[in-house]
C-alpha cells in the first residue's frame, strides 16, 4: 500500500477539477434549495446547456470561445425561464419532476443521432478551449510539492475555477444579507405569508431560479475547459444528485456549505477509491469480493448511502442550521 500516493491523490482531489465543478453546481443549488426552498432536480441541465453552448459555438460553428461562453450563459438564463414559467406556481414535488424531466430532455437531445452534426452524438464535442489556454500565465511544466501537484494547464483552469467559486460565494453572501435575500428566505419559510405582505412570490422565485442556474452553469464551463471535451452522459441525473449530496453534506443555506461539502466529498471518494484499489492490487481484499471495476460501483453505492444517512440523521450537514432547511413540502 503506497500511502504517500493515496494521500497525494486525496489532496489533489480536494482542490481538483471535480471539486470546483461540484462546488459551483452546489452553490447554484444552494440558492434554489437552500435559500428559496425550490427543489430543482435539473441542475445538470444548466451545466449541460452552458458547456454545450460554449463547445458547439467553437467546434461546430467555428466562432470565438468568448462568444460561446456568452451564448452558454444566455442559454442557462433561457432554460431557467422555460422551466420556471410552467412550474413555479406548482407544488414542490411537481417542480422536482419537471426539472428532472427537462434535464433528461436536454441530455437525450444532445446525444441523439439526429443532431449529431451539431452536438456530436454520444461522443460530444472536443478541442474547443484553445483560446482559454492561450491566456495561460503559467509557463509549461509541472508544479509539484512532493508527489502532489498539477501541470500548467490544470494550474490555470483551477486558478480560474477557484476564483469563480470565491466570487460566487461573495455574490451569494451579499445577495442573502440584502432585503431581497430576506424575502427569498421568507418564501422558503412561508410562501403565503410573503404573498400576503404584497410581494410577488412568483417573480422572486423566478429570479432565484435564474441566479442559481447561472451560478451552477459556471461549473459546466469549468468542466468543459478543464477536460477540453464534453460528453452528454456526464450531465445525467446522477450529477444532479451528487451536487445535492455535496450541498447537504456541507450544509444548505450556508454560504460556504457547498464549498466545504465539495472538498470533503471528493476527498472521501478519492480515499475510498485509492485505498480499495491498492488493497485489491496488494491482495488484502480477495478479487472475488470486489474487483477494480467494481470499485467505481462501490463509490456510487457509498454516495447513495451517504445521502440517505445525512438526510435522516443530519439534514443540516456539517455547518447548517436545522431550522433553516426546507424539509416540508408545501
Amino acid at each position: 500500500m503506497d500511502w504517500t500516493r493515496i494521500f497525494a491523490n486525496a489532496l489533489e482531489a480536494s482542490i481538483g477539477l471535480q471539486a470546483v465543478v461540484f462546488a459551483l453546481a452546489a452553490i447554484g443549488l444552494n440558492v434554489h434549495f437552500g435559500y428559496t426552498g425550490l427543489l430543482n432536480f435539473g441542475q445538470s441541465g444548466f451545466l449541460a446547456v452552458a458547456a454545450y453552448g460554449m463547445a458547439v459555438t467553437v467546434q461546430t460553428f467555428d466562432l470565438s470561445l468568448w462568444l460561446g461562453i456568452a451564448i452558454g450563459l444566455a442559454a442557462a438564463v433561457l432554460l431557467a425561464l422555460l422551466l420556471g414559467i410552467p412550474t413555479l406556481r406548482l407544488r414542490a414535488d411537481y417542480l422536482a419532476i419537471v426539472t428532472i424531466a427537462a434535464a433528461e430532455i436536454i441530455r437525450l437531445t444532445v446525444r441523439s443521432v439526429t443532431f449529431e452534426e451539431t452536438f456530436g452524438g454520444s461522443d460530444g464535442r472536443q478541442s474547443f478551449s484553445a483560446d482559454f489556454y492561450a491566456l495561460n500565465p503559467f509557463s509549461e511544466g509541472e508544479y509539484n510539492i512532493g508527489r502532489f501537484g498539477f501541470n500548467e494547464r490544470q494550474m490555470w483552469v483551477l486558478t480560474v475555477g477557484w476564483i469563480l467559486v470565491g466570487l460566487s460565494c461573495l455574490v451569494v453572501f451579499l445577495l442573502m444579507r440584502s432585503p431581497w435575500g430576506r424575502v427569498l428566505k421568507a418564501i422558503r419559510e412561508d410562501e403565503d405569508a410573503v404573498r400576503s405582505l404584497g410581494k410577488n412570490v412568483y417573480a422572486y422565485k423566478m429570479q432565484s431560479l435564474i441566479i442559481g442556474g447561472v451560478l451552477g452553469c459556471l461549473g459546466g464551463f469549468i468542466y468543459g475547459l478543464g477536460q477540453n471535451s464534453i460528453q452528454p452522459d456526464i450531465f445525467g441525473t446522477d450529477t444532479t444528485f451528487f451536487a445535492y449530496t455535496v450541498l447537504i453534506l456541507g450544509g444548505a443555506a450556508r454560504v460556504a456549505g457547498p464549498v466545504v461539502g465539495a472538498v470533503i466529498f471528493w476527498v472521501v471518494l478519492s480515499l475510498t477509491d485509492n485505498v480499495l484499489n491498492e488493497a485489491i492490487d496488494a491482495g488484502y481484499i480477495s478479487s472475488s469480493v470486489i474487483n477494480n471495476t467494481q470499485v467505481g460501483q462501490f463509490r456510487f453505492m457509498l454516495v447513495g448511502l451517504l445521502l440517505m444517512l445525512l438526510m435522516i440523521f443530519r439534514p443540516q450537514g456539517i455547518f447548517g442550521d436545522r431550522r433553516e432547511i426546507a424539509l416540508d413540502a408545501r
Binding site: 444528485f241 454516495v303 445521502l307 438526510m311 435522516i312 424539509l327
Partner: protein, 433 residues
C-alpha cells in the same frame, strides 16, 4: 419484434464472421480471391445451395465462372486487386430458391491487395416488409398499449404510495428492476452469494419473485419509511432519502448483476403471432393479458374490499381516516406490499419485452412519473389513464420522430400538460399549490 430483428442481425453477423474466417484460411498464401456462401433460409436454418454458377469479370481479362459446392461455397481466384463485377446466374438456381432481390444479381466489388473478398448474395423471401402508414400505426398502437400497461402497473403502485404517505418515491424504479432480477436469478439458478440450484421454469420463478417483491415492499416500509414517519421526517427530506436509496440499490444491482442485458432462459427468440396488421410475440400478448387482469383486480380491490376503501380514505384525508377507526399504519403497510408487487410484476413483464438490466426500472422511472403526473398525482385511476397515454404516445410518435427521441416527446408533453392543466387529466384542481 425488436428481439426478432436482433436475433436475425446476430445470425447474419455470425454468418459473416464464419464466412470471413473460413475464407481467409486456404487462400491466404495464394493472392486475391472473391468468394461467398449461398445459403437459403428454411425456417430458422440456413440450407446450403450447391450447383449455382457465379461469374467474376474484371481488369486483366479476368472472366471466370465458379460453381457452388455442397457447402454452398464458391471461390474465384482473381490474383489481382481492382474492381470486379460478380454475377449470379439466376437460371442455375434450384427450383424454389430465388434471390431476395431478383434485380441485384450483379454486384460491383472492390478487392484490395492480398484480400479475400466475401460477397453476399441474399436468398429467400424478403424479411423486410413494406408496411403502409396505417399498418405501422396499428402495430405501434399495439406495442404502445403493451408498454403503457406495463408502466401502469408501476404507476398505480407509485400513485398509491404517494396518495397514502405523500412520498414521491424516486426508488420506485428499483422496485421494478428487482422483480426482473429475482425472476432471472431464480430461472437460471445463478443466485448471487448462493450455490447454483439449476434454475426453475419461468412461471414458478416469476411467482416466487413476486413473493420476494412483496417482502421487499414490506421491508421498505417496516425498516425505513415507518421509522422515518415516526421521527416526523419532512416530505422533501423523505424524497431525498428515496433518491439516496435509489442510487444505492441501482449500483448494488450493478455490483451483483453486472452491466449486461440478459434474457430469461425460457423466452429467447420468440416467434411472432399475427392479428391482421399487428405482429407481436406470444409473451407480449400474454403480458398484456396479465397486466389487464391484475389492473382490473387492483381497481376492484380498491372499490369493493374493506382495505381498498380504507386505502382511498387514507389517501383522501389521513387524519380523518385515523379518527374514524382506520389503522392508518396497517393500510400503508398493505399499500407498500401491494405497490412493490405491482412494480415487480411490471419489471418481470418488461424483462420479457426488452431483457433484464440493472437500470431497466430507472430508465422508465421518469416515464412512470410522467404517467402519474399526467393522470394527476395521488389518484390511482389517473395513473392508469396517464400510463396508457404515455405508452401510446411514446410508440406512436415514432411514426414522425426518430426513435431515439421518443422519450423526449413524452417528457415534453408532460411539461406542456403542466402548463395547460396542472392537476392532470383526472386530478382535482385544489390538490395543486
Amino acid at each position: 419484434m425488436r428481439t426478432r430483428v436482433a436475433v436475425f442481425l446476430a445470425t447474419l453477423m455470425a454468418a459473416l464472421v464464419v464466412m470471413v474466417g473460413l475464407g481467409a484460411l486456404p487462400a491466404a498464401a495464394e493472392g486475391e480471391s472473391v468468394f461467398g456462401f449461398l445459403k437459403n433460409p428454411k425456417g430458422k436454418e440456413l440450407v446450403p445451395v450447391p450447383g449455382v454458377e457465379v461469374t467474376v469479370k474484371g481488369p486483366g481479362g479476368v472472366n471466370e465462372t465458379a460453381t457452388s459446392d455442397e457447402q454452398g461455397r464458391w471461390t474465384v481466384e482473381v490474383n489481382r486487386a481492382g474492381t470486379f463485377t460478380v454475377t449470379l446466374d439466376q437460371d442455375t438456381l434450384p427450383k424454389g430458391v430465388t434471390l431476395r432481390n431478383p434485380d441485384a444479381d450483379s454486384l460491383k466489388v472492390p478487392v484490395a491487395e492480398g484480400q479475400d473478398k466475401p460477397v453476399l448474395f441474399a436468398l429467400g423471401k424478403s424479411t423486410r416488409q413494406v408496411q403502409s402508414k396505417w399498418e405501422q400505426a396499428a402495430q405501434l398502437t399495439a406495442e404502445g398499449l403493451r408498454f403503457g400497461l406495463i408502466i401502469a402497473l408501476a404507476a398505480v403502485g407509485l400513485s398509491l404510495i404517494f396518495g397514502t404517505t405523500g412520498l414521491t418515491n424516486f426508488a420506485h424504479g428499483e422496485l421494478v428492476t428487482i422483480g426482473a432480477l429475482f425472476t432471472w436469478w431464480l430461472s437460471t439458478g445463478n443466485l448471487p452469494f448462493l450455490p447454483d440450484f439449476g434454475g426453475l421454469q419461468f412461471f414458478p420463478a416469476a411467482a416466487i419473485a413476486l413473493l420476494l417483491c412483496a417482502g421487499v415492499g414490506w421491508a421498505n416500509d417496516a425498516w425505513l419509511w415507518r421509522p422515518l414517519r415516526r421521527r416526523g421526517t419532512g416530505l422533501i427530506a423523505a424524497m431525498i432519502v428515496s433518491i439516496g436509496l435509489g442510487i444505492f440499490l441501482r449500483y448494488f444491482y450493478l455490483y451483483v448483476f453486472t452491466g449486461n442485458t440478459r434474457q430469461y432462459p425460457d423466452y429467447q427468440g420468440q416467434k411472432g403471432l399475427s392479428f391482421g396488421p399487428i405482429q407481436l410475440a406470444l409473451p407480449d400478448y400474454l403480458s398484456m393479458a396479465v397486466a389487464v387482469v391484475v389492473l382490473m383486480a387492483t381497481i376492484l380491490a380498491l372499490q369493493r374490499t374493506r382495505v381498498g376503501k380504507a386505502t382511498r380514505a387514507v389517501a383522501d384525508n389521513p387524519a380523518l381516516a385515523a379518527a374514524s377507526g382506520i389503522d392508518v399504519d396497517r393500510v400503508i403497510r398493505v399499500v407498500w406490499v401491494g405497490g412493490a408487487m405491482l412494480a415487480g410484476l411490471a419489471g418481470i413483464l418488461l424483462g420479457l419485452a426488452q431483457g433484464v438490466n440493472f437500470q431497466m426500472g430507472f430508465q422508465i422511472l421518469l416515464l412512470i412519473f410522467a404517467a402519474v403526473t399526467l393522470g394527476g398525482l395521488g389518484t390511482a385511476y389517473g395513473a392508469l389513464v396517464g400510463s396508457i397515454v404515455v405508452g401510446l404516445f411514446i410508440t406512436v410518435s415514432t411514426l414522425w420522430i426518430p426513435v431515439e427521441l421518443k422519450n423526449v416527446g413524452a417528457l415534453g408533453i408532460l411539461i406542456v400538460i403542466l402548463l395547460v392543466r396542472p392537476q392532470g387529466i383526472l386530478g382535482r384542481a385544489q390538490r395543486v399549490g
